[in-house]
Symmetry: C2
Subunit: 586 residues, 2 copies
């Protein structure tokens, strides 16, 4: 099947005179998770990883992806005619370099300009003739899905869309621009206080938003909209003075802007739209990203509520897990994930999971980005560690939590790893730091206990989390990359160190932490974290000597807080069980 | 006096038609510490701080300097006709911006192009006509000191100058250049294995080094050289195939290079020389900086020897201090600094101090960059903390050590600060980290114990240290600035957290630490630090509860190691005293 698709692409290339075609795994909004319509890489070669780009020439077809997906790519590419090009390895040859090495200088490289970031194409435009062909694969992909149009609804997150638009207008004034085009889907949803479910796990509306001094235009309509929820939303939005227009009309609008300066988001503006703009442009990261990351009091209250209800669901799940694994003996990783999903689905305001649940024991848990099989998933044994990384979208917030719990007897190494990761988690949670500190400057607090034991983990310690938006959002993070964005009060980030031993086991402990003020003195203005996530940490496999007295106190206080806060929301049997689970350790 | 100098400068400006003059505190090699000849800022306005630049227009004269020097500048500028412009403050207006705000677009700005970094001038060259006038102040500064020419001698640091030149030739080949001009004085001294004392505290030779495929030219001779040491050195250098030429001939040489590509060090090449180059240039940081920072086995052995002898001197000094302060009651900060200098001067191979000793008690110690007065320095009381930051240059290495010791009874706050700083010092000294880690990623290890108590310090935690070279050298450091240079085995850095309470007291504990390998495992290649400095930490004012068992163990082990290593080099009375001082605490 994939070989036929590849050949039909090459037939098109020959007829058009193209020497190479680039297909990316992204969408016109540079989304982390694209809708089905834009899973072009998967359609062409069968690869389903989250990161992958394709180059096809008349005698070569390659998929570029990173270390996380090498094994998966090798399996999925078999018989497709595509070969794997490895990235994030020392000897990597990235696409621009590969093209330079393998194509003549006057070659024609065709791209679906809608799905290419404008600045990425600049990297190759100097060497080749770039042919931008929007929706290039439409001719070959007969049943290609349409752009989704799911019901769009409004939320009230504590600041009106009018206020946000005023702020954007102040921003463009300050930058001496006449307008700003928002192309990042989460920024548009944030600005307009709207949500939908156009993209799996992400409550987003595929659209563009153009804010100018005298008008606001929302390019959102895809075909004839009849659903009541969306129609009501559009009325509300229109009543705020916002024009509601067809999605595809943006192109015309941009072509008609012959004067002034337009601010474009350099992170998400696509190549095709960029080429349509006829006025001056300023291309820089959008200011919405940072402002959206700083949650207002309503959003913080919503996140607290989400974590209360989500935490109660997690405790019900862990209670079920502990009582079922031993008793039944046939619970699979998939059964557990499904049970957790069912429990969460009962929560009023639940809008779906915020990402695909990782439910894993043993060697599955040793893969940080494990995908729990839909069928024939491993059955949970009555020993060793079980890892569950999951989260949900609620009308009032987003959650992301990882708990690693013993299913029975654990090995000394499992216990040590469990404790050291918890120690790192606690040390970061207890951090205090002067205003102006960036995540990369405190990341080591979570790693140092592991490093002292010569252990480490290969992913970031913390990512930003949206308010009923993406479970990954910037600009702040807590990782080793030298990102200078200061952590500021109102930002929510995860705290999730881990240890992974290939073929053996994996440990990760994850809470969401809110940056809050912590007083001022002669030495400056101080900040610290407040933990939002509510779910106990199992104390039965802790190696006591590895924790110091402050860490023990934090752990006992946290578990007690979890019990006190959640028990009113739990049935008696779960509450009794949680009382036992949260008894302080000495 | 300064007002007259300013007026004579303005007379010159009027006669030449200049609208503004910029005078920097640097020299033609962008040295951190310039020779007397280049203390032009001091000559013109009286300001003696290490960082300060001047702009003079016909109706304004300003000195730009940073937070460290505000108080000093206000005092020293009084009656000079100059006003202070503050830098490193939120509302700062730096020189390029100030010029843009205060001068017309077609103004003529005169600079001494020799003392201006080439890239700095680019920042203003777009807005104004720049007149580069080498040695501009010569006409006004009648008794201006000449370029120093102190005896130049050779050293044997474990790698021949021939080997270093071969490596430089490989580098220029790799960069498709035909030559490299070294303009940084420590890089030239490192490459040629030569030292002198042209600059106070810095064993450097003011010169330039041009390395090409077929020749090496050292522009170093200033006038007629007659001293035997230098003549012998020049013979040795010539015998290695290096041409020895007058310092001022470089300009002609550069003007004669009409072909090829020359690599210039973007950090230190001055504007005047840059304008003289007639061939193509590549302007980037010199590769010598990084290679020089990684000490070879001979250099490491030399540094160990330097710290052994320097440590014994420090213990003799601290013994003298403790026995004298109480007994005599009239020891001043200056007396103590002088005594330490005398003790060090007895060490064979001592070549002078590596920077001006900070000897301070009370509110003096509360200033991180305190200068101990030459006359009427405060007398040391028999209570409270005394801080001494000092170091020396030896034929075989460079030292830099800070000890804070009680002179008698200390307040609870002094003891707490003393202990927390020591805790931070120890936590960084105990660090283990994967290869590839940069200093900014572990800086917080020294700060976290302070941050937990909502205390902090406003300087870097660690700077690189040269081998019988500058006591400050890059490219690595351990501080909050996002410098991505990885710490690698062989690099030497300081570990010097502190706490400063204005008008009260200051604490700093500083050792030099060597980055060494620490084994490999499934999680990567590990590095750690070995402490080079040998001098006990006083345990009498430690608040025991603030240190955990690992920190106590480190401290007891370190003090025991200091005693065992140094006692053979100490007289019986000092050794007995040190035995007492280094008894383990529980």
């Amino acid at each position: 099947m994939y070989k036929e698709r590849l050949e039909s692409l090459r037939t098109m290339m020959r007829s058009k005179g193209w020497d190479a075609v680039i297909i990316t795994g992204s969408d016109p909004h540079n989304s982390e998770y694209p809708a089905e319509r834009w899973k072009q890489v998967q359609w062409l070669c069968g690869f389903t990883g989250e990161a992958g780009d394709i180059v096809v020439t008349l005698d070569h077809a390659g998929l570029w992806t990173d270390t996380r997906y090498f094994i998966q790519a090798n399996i999925q590419l078999e018989g497709s005619g595509f070969v794997l090009h490895k990235t994030r390895v020392p000897e990597q040859v990235l696409i621009p370099e590969w093209l330079a090495l393998n194509l003549d200088k006057d070659s024609i490289v065709a791209v679906d300009g809608l799905c290419q970031n404008a600045s990425e194409i600049s990297a190759i435009a100097g060497n080749f003739t770039v042919a931008s062909v929007p929706n290039m694969l439409d001719a070959l992909w007969k049943d290609r899905p349409a752009i989704p149009q799911t019901p769009v609804f409004t939320i009230d997150p504590g600041e009106t869309r009018a206020s946000k638009i005023d702020w954007l207008r102040d921003f463009i004034d300050g930058r001496e621009c006449d307008g700003i085009l928002l192309s990042s889907l989460d920024e548009i949803a944030w600005t307009l206080n709207v949500r939908a479910s156009d993209i799996e796990y992400n409550p987003l509306v595929i659209s563009y938003l153009l804010v100018r001094r005298d008008d606001v235009k929302w390019f959102v309509l895809k075909g004839n909209v009849t659903d009541e929820v969306t129609l009501a939303t559009m009325d509300i939005v229109r009543s705020a003075g916002i024009e509601v227009l067809p999605y595809e009309d943006l192109e015309l609008e941009l072509g008609d802007m012959h004067w002034g300066r337009l601010f474009l988001d350099s992170n998400t503006i696509n190549y095709h739209l960029w080429t349509q703009v006829s006025c001056d442009v300023v291309m820089e990261p959008s200011p919405v990203r940072l402002r959206k990351a700083v949650k207002n009091p309503t959003e913080i209250a919503g996140m607290r509520k989400a974590h209360l209800l989500d935490g109660a669901a997690m405790e019900r799940f862990l209670f079920w897990l502990e009582s079922s694994v031993d008793a039944r003996g046939d619970i699979s990783e998939r059964d557990a994930a499904d049970m957790l999903g069912r429990i969460r689905a009962e929560i009023p305001g639940y809008r779906g999971d915020s990402f695909e649940t990782i439910s894993a024991c043993g060697k599955g848990a040793a893969l940080p980005h494990y995908i729990t099989p839909k069928k024939n998933a491993p059955v949970l044994p009555s020993h060793g560690l079980y890892l569950c990384d999951s989260g949900a979208q609620y009308d009032f917030g987003t959650t992301d939590i990882t708990r690693t719990v013993p299913l029975g007897e654990c090995s000394p190494l499992e216990k040590e790893d469990y404790t050291l990761v918890l120690k790192g988690h606690i040390d970061l949670a207890m951090a205090a730091f002067p205003a102006g500190t960036a995540g990369c400057q405190i990341d080591v607090l979570a790693r140092n206990p592991l490093w002292q034991a010569r252990r480490n983990f290969g992913h970031g310690t913390g990512h930003g989390v949206g308010y009923f938006l993406g479970v990954h959002e910037g600009p702040q993070d807590i990782r080793q990359n030298l990102n200078g964005t200061p952590l500021t009060p109102g930002m929510i980030t995860s705290d999730e160190p881990g240890i992974y031993r290939e073929g053996m086991h994996g440990v990760r402990h994850e809470n969401l932490i809110l940056c809050v003020e912590s007083g001022n003195n002669d030495f400056g203005n101080w900040l610290e974290f407040e933990t939002l996530t509510l779910c106990h940490f199992d104390t039965s496999c802790i190696v006591r000597e590895l924790l110091d007295s402050r860490e023990i106190k934090w752990l006992n206080d946290y578990n007690e807080h979890v019990f006190t806060t959640l028990s009113p929301y739990l049935s008696a049997d779960v509450a009794d069980w949680l009382r036992e689970k949260t008894m302080p350790i000495q």
